[in-house]
């Protein structure tokens, strides 16, 4: 038996449009996904914003009822046996919410421990251990409202470990953190991995998935477009090089022209304050640079470089530049 078994899972959201003549609009958030997670595995679910990652995790943590398909956690159905699942899992959703800001970190943990039915004697021992694990030992007595975003996120992790769950669902645990905060959270996740916890992690940081996950499912528009180890996924782009071109205000028309060039595989744009980084995947490597620069003739161009592809590039290719 797999720890997590997902079969053809679907979730449709209904929203109403209009005031006088109301119409119901259906949005397919998760569109028939299937995957398994093994005991003790750190499994990544990757995709751009709106791909269906959080919706999937909410269905697996019993907080949302699927529209179709099935999902089982430790053999229990997420709809009919939600109570059996809740005592055995821990979950955190990205962001600062979900804690009582006017209480101290320790009070938050004491309260949540009672809700997880942790014995008071065990709670007393475990809280200092968890605060130590997440690096909050010296701040536990302080009110949460004074914590930084990273500290709140670490407290979330401590909260989710109070009842020593078999499975952890971590939804974008490093979202919005500075590089130091993100690194600290990844270290905590590595520690949990070494304790053989089964972890399902969602992130859109490819380096994070590359560094942590044993297997990765790439999800786009509610569907899984690839599922393999990070190394195997990188093979998707092994014949390509990535050309990075710094540009200052590139019009959509020119981007479309570049996309149509025969040697161009994918094009994506990253916004960097006043400028953008154009990322072009091409099998031609450095030879693609002159024709690309010719296409950008009317645009101010900064630095240009060519590099080996990473997992992020594989991801960009898999989701067709939809990032």
């Amino acid at each position: 038996m797999n720890t997590i078994e997902v079969r053809d899972l679907r979730r449709i959201f209904k929203t109403t449009i209009g005031v006088v003549r109301r119409k119901i609009k259906e949005v397919v958030a998760v569109d028939g996904i299937t995957f398994d997670v093994n005991r003790g595995e750190l499994f990544g679910l990757l995709g751009p914003n709106g791909a269906g990652k959080t919706t999937t995790i909410k269905m697996l943590t019993t907080l949302l009822i699927p529209t179709g398909g099935t999902a089982k956690i430790l053999g229990y159905d997420v709809v009919d046996q939600a109570n059996a699942i809740r005592a055995r899992i821990g979950f955190i959703f990205g962001g600062e919410r979900g804690l009582y800001w006017r209480l101290s970190g320790i009070d938050n943990l004491r309260y949540f421990a009672s809700l997880y039915h942790v014995d008071p004697a065990v709670t007393k021992k475990r809280i200092p251990q968890l605060l130590e694990l997440v690096g909050l030992s010296d701040r536990g007595e302080e009110k949460v409202e004074g914590y930084s975003r990273g500290m709140k996120q670490r407290l979330h992790i401590a909260r989710t470990l109070l009842h020593d769950p078999e499975i952890l669902f971590l939804d974008e645990p490093t979202m919005g953190l500075d590089p130091v905060g993100g690194r600290e959270i990844r270290q905590v996740i590595r520690n949990l991995q070494s304790e053989k916890k089964t972890i399902l992690l969602t992130t859109h940081y490819m380096f994070e998935a590359d560094a942590l996950c044993e297997r990765v499912a790439v999800i786009d528009r509610g569907r899984i477009v690839a599922l393999d180890t990070p190394e195997a996924l990188k093979h998707v782009v092994r014949d390509l090089a990535v050309i990075e071109i710094e540009v200052f205000g590139v019009p959509e028309k020119i981007l479309n022209q570049i996309r149509k060039l025969p040697f161009v595989d994918t094009v994506s744009v990253e916004d960097l304050d006043q400028k953008q980084m154009l990322l072009v995947q091409s099998a031609k490597g450095p030879e693609a640079v002159p024709p690309l620069l010719a296409s950008l003739d009317s645009v101010r161009v900064g630095k240009v470089s060519v590099r080996e592809p990473t997992l992020e590039d594989a991801y960009v290719r898999l989701v067709g530049g939809n990032v």
């Binding site: 019993t62 109570n83 979900g98 009582y100 209480l103 949540f112 809700l115 997880y116 039915h117």
Partner: protein, 265 residues
């Protein structure tokens, strides 16, 4: 329920109680609703009715205290689930093995118990500032009435909390429900002066029976038979509210899981 679960749930209620009090005492709206507003009502009532004699003063103290209790049920208990949704803690609570109703029970118990402070504040005002010689005529009966009042109002708060989540349109009437209950429950004057058709409405409100029991036991020495009617009604209504809340919680949580409304985002 598994063996030992009652003890676990009692512990949850205890901690929900303690931590809710800790948080509420730093909320200015709570302080106003529970302590300041009942004091204003007590001052006005003492000026208007105080000349009728010393015995009316204890009636005013209990009545204005009851207004604080009802405000607490309506605004704090009624919003207890909605508030968790807006702070982002509702998902965490629903995803835990403790039933949400047990947690909300502990929170509501804290809100209502804390609101008893408004009665103490009114008592202090009337006795120290206005100089009325206040005494509770039947202290034991009064204490039992207070306990039954708290429990029945906590159960009513569970019903309101779920109704306000199930139908946000109802919550828009939250402010509008404040004064009608002051009047229908007879906090500051008897319901006998109201039109007769309103009497059945008063009878299905635990606050009405709470007012009857508290006024009787504080202002007179009622016979056990006389006071047992409001006590029995509070107990009966408390049980009815509890069953209704149990059903509403199931309905509300299923609806929230279908419509994805747990996170409030």
């Amino acid at each position: 329920m598994k063996p030992g679960m009652l003890k676990t749930y009692l512990r949850v209620i205890k901690l929900a109680f303690i931590f809710t009090i800790k948080q509420a005492m730093t909320d200015a709206f709570v302080i106003f609703g529970i302590f300041v507003q009942p004091l204003i009502i007590a001052i006005m009532a003492l000026f208007v009715l105080g000349e009728q004699g010393d015995e009316i003063a204890i009636f005013i103290v209990v009545g204005s205290g009851l207004t604080g209790l009802w405000d607490s049920v309506l605004f704090q208990s009624g919003s207890s689930i909605t508030q968790e949704r807006w702070t982002g803690t509702l998902e965490a609570l629903v995803g835990m093995p403790t039933p949400l109703g047990v947690i909300v029970f502990g929170k509501n118990l804290a809100f209502v118990t804390q609101a008893l402070g408004s009665m103490i504040a009114s008592y202090t005002l009337a006795s120290i500032i206005f100089g009325y010689p206040l005494s509770v005529e039947s202290p034991m009966l009064f204490i039992i009435s207070v306990i039954l009042t708290v429990l029945s109002l906590v159960c009513l708060g569970l019903v309101l909390a779920t109704l306000f989540v199930l139908n946000p349109d109802v919550q828009r009437w939250q402010n509008g429900l404040e004064f009608p209950v002051f009047i229908l429950a007879g906090f500051l004057f008897p319901i006998a002066i109201l039109p007769q058709w309103t009497t059945p409405l008063s009878y299905i409100l635990a606050p009405y029976w709470a007012a009857v029991a508290l006024h009787l036991s504080s202002s007179a020495k009622p016979g056990i038979l006389e006071i047992s009617t409001p006590w029995a009604m509070m107990a009966l209504l408390g049980v009815i509210y509890l069953f209704l809340a149990f059903w509403l919680f199931k309905k509300m949580l299923f609806k929230a899981r279908v419509e994805a409304t747990l996170s409030g985002q």
